[in-house]
């Protein structure tokens, strides 16, 4: 199977979504559903937090086309061994020509740290809102087919 790697910048209404994504081979793959293949081989500990991706049926599933405010997003999910092994964009808002951008520079004078969950009461939360909702919607749709 040919593998093709591509990168795009999705430009969304001044909101630029930089996505490096892995584009699996072209062509439709029919879902191969094997009911014996639910869940990982090793029985997970009961307190595993990975429940959302456990137990999907193997195959390749397409999510619905979702309007991402600045264009359509549609994702395809590949399930192997009951887990998500790949997510591919079939459609994404794309601004051809002007926005291709490759980056490999270092960040010399900046401090860095590993991110860590915090336990605190907060008044407000800052987070991204825009395109990700459409992505999640399309993904959720693809995953519902994999159940």
């Amino acid at each position: 199977m040919m593998k093709k790697y591509a990168q795009v910048i999705v430009v969304m209404g001044g909101f630029f979504l930089l996505v490096f994504f892995r584009n699996i081979a072209r062509g439709d793959k029919q879902p191969v559903i094997t009911s014996s293949d639910l869940g990982p081989i090793n029985t997970p500990a009961p307190n595993t937090s990975n429940a959302t991706s456990r137990g999907y049926k193997n195959g390749t599933y397409r999510g619905s086309v979702v309007d991402a405010y600045y264009g359509n997003i549609q994702v395809q999910v590949q399930i192997t061994g009951g887990r998500i092994t790949d997510v591919t964009f079939l459609q994404y808002p794309n601004d051809n020509g002007t926005s291709r951008f490759i980056n490999s520079q270092a960040m010399p004078m900046l401090k860095s740290e590993a991110i860590q969950a915090q336990n605190a009461q907060v008044n407000i939360i800052s987070g991204a809102s825009d395109s990700s909702m459409a992505f999640q919607q399309s993904l959720a749709d693809a995953l519902s087919q994999a159940k």
Partner: protein, 241 residues
């Protein structure tokens, strides 16, 4: 929901009037009606359909266009309102709308306020606890989790990003250790500054944080897809201990 995003307005001052808050919501709806790239009757739609001559644009539209042009210049072209050949000023309108609302409330004498649209926030004074506002930065990989707690007053904060899980994303440039960006949170003197520069910095990828570092009144916290955070020199002063 306005512009497809949740809106929260809080006035802590005991003099707060419901009608002032309602007026802000009404302002937001008007902005949405004018600038929505979807709505059949919006001015943006009329412009994109060629049904409105340049000379007939509203004053507010001209202002947004001027702000967008200035922002494009200030971000070395990493900010644009031309998306696939269509005009879409959404990238500037959100920060503008929040900032205008906060200024209006300030003029009415309110001293302790926050206004949020979809995770972008203008903050003034103190919260109901009497201390600075406590603001969490959302974990882009686990959206019910907070990974940084900030203590803020009289400033704006905005986050640009995507919740694509890092392990699904391959960076063909840097190879195995993909360090593309999950989110960047920018703190500025106001939310208009924070929002437009967060948008442009996110588009710059890893260079975005260095760009913010070079700006005097901006600080940022950038999270890469290998779950590391990079932050500007002045950012630490906002972190709650």
């Amino acid at each position: 929901m306005i512009m497809g995003m949740p809106v929260i307005i809080e006035i802590v001052d005991i003099t707060a009037k419901d009608e002032d808050i309602e007026e802000i919501f009404s302002d937001f709806r008007k902005i949405d009606e004018r600038f929505s790239p979807y709505k059949e009757t919006s001015e943006v739609m009329l412009i994109n359909r060629g049904k409105l001559a340049r000379g007939d644009y509203s004053q507010e539209m001209n202002k947004i266009i001027a702000l967008a042009e200035e922002t494009k210049h200030a971000t070395n072209g990493f900010f644009t309102t031309t998306i696939r050949g269509l005009f879409d000023p959404s990238g500037i309108v959100k920060g503008y709308a929040i900032w205008e609302a906060a200024k209006k409330l300030e003029k009415r004498g309110y001293e302790n306020v926050f206004v949020e649209i979809g995770g972008d926030i203008q903050i003034k004074g103190v919260s109901s606890s009497g201390s600075k506002w406590v603001v969490g930065i959302r974990n882009p990989f686990q959206t019910d989790e907070i990974i940084k707690v900030l203590s803020l007053t009289n400033c704006g904060i905005a986050t640009s990003g995507t919740y694509l899980r890092g392990s699904h994303i391959y960076n063909p440039v840097s190879g195995v250790n993909a360090t593309d960006i999950a989110s960047i949170t920018v703190i500025g003197k106001n939310v208009y500054e924070a929002d437009r520069f967060a948008t442009a910095a996110f588009a710059m990828g890893e260079n975005g944080i260095s760009f913010i570092q070079s700006k005097q009144y901006l600080e940022a916290y950038m999270i890469t897809n290998n779950e590391r955070a990079y932050f500007t020199e002045g950012f630490s002063k906002f972190v709650q201990m």
